[in-house]
Symmetry: D2
Subunit: 149 residues, 4 copies
């Protein structure tokens, strides 16, 4: 249970691997099996009325668990999202950054499972929750990447 990547290493990886979306996110904190990610809200994440779009929250949940996995196994692996269940529970506060707190519940040989709570910064009740499953490539220790299934 030793972290293989720090906050800044995760951010550098995100910028190299996913340049289109990396500017949306900041890695606020990382610990074994836990991570906090910030969605830096911009106009492109908003719907009329200032609420944050569903796809933006999906992206936040997905990036959060993905980076939690990488923090544990290192940047060599290619994890593929296979399932996401997301509940939208409250309207996000207009124009405020969102924070996702993700936990890894399982990091197995072929599957990883994590869960996420998402908040408008400074507000106690969660806006959304999500659980996600990732398929891990079979030879991840060897650093090979590929579609695993």
């Amino acid at each position: 249970m030793v972290l293989k990547m720090s906050c800044s290493e995760l951010e550098v990886f995100l910028h190299e691997a996913f340049p289109q979306v990396a500017r949306d996110f900041r890695v606020e904190a990382v610990a074994p099996n836990e991570i906090t990610i910030r969605l830096q809200v911009e106009d492109r994440h908003l719907r009329p009325g200032g609420t944050i779009s569903g796809p933006s929250m999906f992206a936040l949940a997905d990036v959060s668990v993905y980076l939690a996995i990488l923090s544990m196994i290192g940047p060599k692996a290619l994890a593929v999202t296979t399932n996401c269940s997301i509940d939208f529970m409250r309207k996000p506060a207009a124009g405020i950054d969102m924070l996702a707190r993700a936990k890894l519940l399982k990091l197995g040989r072929v599957l990883a499972v994590g869960e996420v709570l998402m908040y408008s910064e400074g507000i106690a009740d969660p806006v959304a929750r999500a659980s996600l499953t990732y398929s891990l490539p079979p030879d991840r220790s060897a650093g090979e990447a590929g579609a695993s299934n």
Copy 2:
């Protein structure tokens, strides 16, 4: 089971209500409780390697069931997505539009449920599936809109 909105009426509504995303989608066909939506793939939907991003597929699923609901109840209502479960099963073909075929399974007084299969155009095996639940505002017959829960 009479349609209250045609393909073109749904597209006009989408452009007025969600101008940021309306250009991404075309309503290909609509029938009672069924709809086909095209995601017109652009660079902004892609990940490295040309694959379509998870958030873009989530948005496609969400728009598809949302418009299927509106086609049945008219443009006055405000339906709010409360849950989405999505399975990513295959890698989308690079640079090819995606088609979503959605069915309404329930259109109740307070909840609607739909399911969606998503395909790379011209390829038989589905790329992803999703099921979504929407909360419907209590006074939708009166045309009022509001956060329903």
Copy 3:
């Protein structure tokens, strides 16, 4: 955020309302928006090899969030499960009781959402997780019960 039902009141309610399943469960602890439920494992919950069946874990998750809701709103309401997403992550230990720790994330006017982690007693890694949505009847303050949608 005051509890309307204690552990023993919840157990009495369960025995009266669901006599077929009440003997399977014990209410271990209850606090505002949190509950711990024990599944008292018997032969009927098992699969070959001594593992606990999926339907038994589904029932445990469902009862846990249901009782968490009742602890907050009282025994008058009829909450109906509308969605459950459940992840089975590890094999349960053979012949050992399971404990479910559930949290209510939202208790709205028409919908409630909770999440559950399930453990084999005495083992740190969770066996399964679930999130559930309930539809609440419109007149619950009046004590009326009925299919709400």
Copy 4:
């Protein structure tokens, strides 16, 4: 896409592998990637008022997709349910058998995904829908079985 097991072979397998639950189910029809399963409703599946319990519907969905997988890969494999998302949409008719119509959407090397619609026999609107993911053991061609993750 040739079937490896017939209706009667699937039923025999179910009785040998899962004797506790096999009497609940009948395999009505099987075709490549499709199966129809009957839940023979007995008192033990019911809740007060005659409605069929959530765990019974979960079990029906789970068995249906599991047998659909076995019909395609044969009785040698051990498939493990890793995720289920289920929507309960309507109240089942009291005391009437339920029919599940399941489709395999993906049968990959390590994961299989199926979806199910469940009906009260003779009634057109579905009572529930579910989607399930199974982890397939790595050496299934060799006939070995084991917990795969």
